[in-house]
Symmetry: C2
Amino acid sequence: MKRNAKAVVSRKRILDAAACIFRDFGYAGTTMRAIAKEANLEAGSIYYYFGTKDDLISAILDSAMLELIESVRQSVEALPSSASNRDRIQVAITAHLTTIIKIGDYTLATRRVVGQVPDTIRIRNKVLREQYASLWQNILNHGRESHEFRTNANLAMARLYILGALNWTVEWYKPKGQPLDDIARDLASIVLDGLVGSQHPESVNAPVS
Amino acid sequence: MKRNAKAVVSRKRILDAAACIFRDFGYAGTTMRAIAKEANLEAGSIYYYFGTKDDLISAILDSAMLELIESVRQSVEALPSSASNRDRIQVAITAHLTTIIKIGDYTLATRRVVGQVPDTIRIRNKVLREQYASLWQNILNHGRESHEFRTNANLAMARLYILGALNWTVEWYKPKGQPLDDIARDLASIVLDGLVGSQHPESVNAPVS
DNA sequence: GTCTATAGGGAGATAGAC
DNA sequence: GTCTATCTCCCTATAGAC
């Protein structure tokens, strides 16, 4: 059924609509009728593409995570081997931010429903989440081994801290505000140098408007 | 009706149970029957204390925010006037963490449903959220004015960044793990000094276990 | 592929007994 | 204060027409 172009388009339209509705109404609050209305068809038609409501949310959770993993991995691997760990963190932060904003409906839907879906769905998605966590942990550990970071920083906590802060951006980011690259640079600056630390020449930033 | 001790106790028991259920099932996924079961009474009885399901979630959102505001405000005001801004941030972080963990069910319920409740409820709660944001902004701005922080740090973003990171802790904190004070100190260390910055003598921390 | 109609279950809220 | 019984509404998922 996926060979048909019409079917592929409809499937994607339904998935996008579902992300939008799950984002606003949560797992239980989302109805097939609401998704159908957003996607401009009738509720019964959704079942041609997705067997159950759970299949829909599962596809949303997994695709968001896969996109994030690929984006950050590729951005970091694309760096020259001469790149500093400061560069690696900066690039990873930018890739993470850019992606979660780009697929904002999926990111927000994930944030808001991942704690409410049936266990089977959450456990399957957890594998991907752990993959992503270890991708970041490798980046941070690399920085310690190369002695670019202070050796007593708690890097497992630093990872939780950084990702928690980055993921929160989808809640307040406004497309009309500061450009995304500026935000990424400012966040990287605070992560790397802190509020007190001396200013690194590469991360000078403009005052907030 | 609140004069009766029995009523006060039941009311609190229902509220605690509701926070627990809202946390696990979201706004729409929470049923009055599930709350009643958790609170050891029947669904109809809840309506003696709360007119509607919306009254329940509204009480949870507001009480969580009020407790957080009071806790951080009191902790910071209790500092001697000689306290450094490093101390103020450290104390605020500790108060925030301690409170959101202490009322963990309410915090998690808030995190997970605040994007799904009817607009009227969210807007009323927003006033409190903004109060809390400006409390933190004052703490940060004070640090800049006293020249303890580097002057080009983007403090509005720093606030969003810090609170995003701190709030994420409720998702991964385990009571049996590292003591809360250690976590608060490590987070404060990363916020203030960054990953690269030189180590401040007051924030030496143990390696993660 | 997409529709309409509907079966079967469960929700919030109310009424009145105790 | 708390219970049971129930009204009314809306949900997921299916069946079969087109």
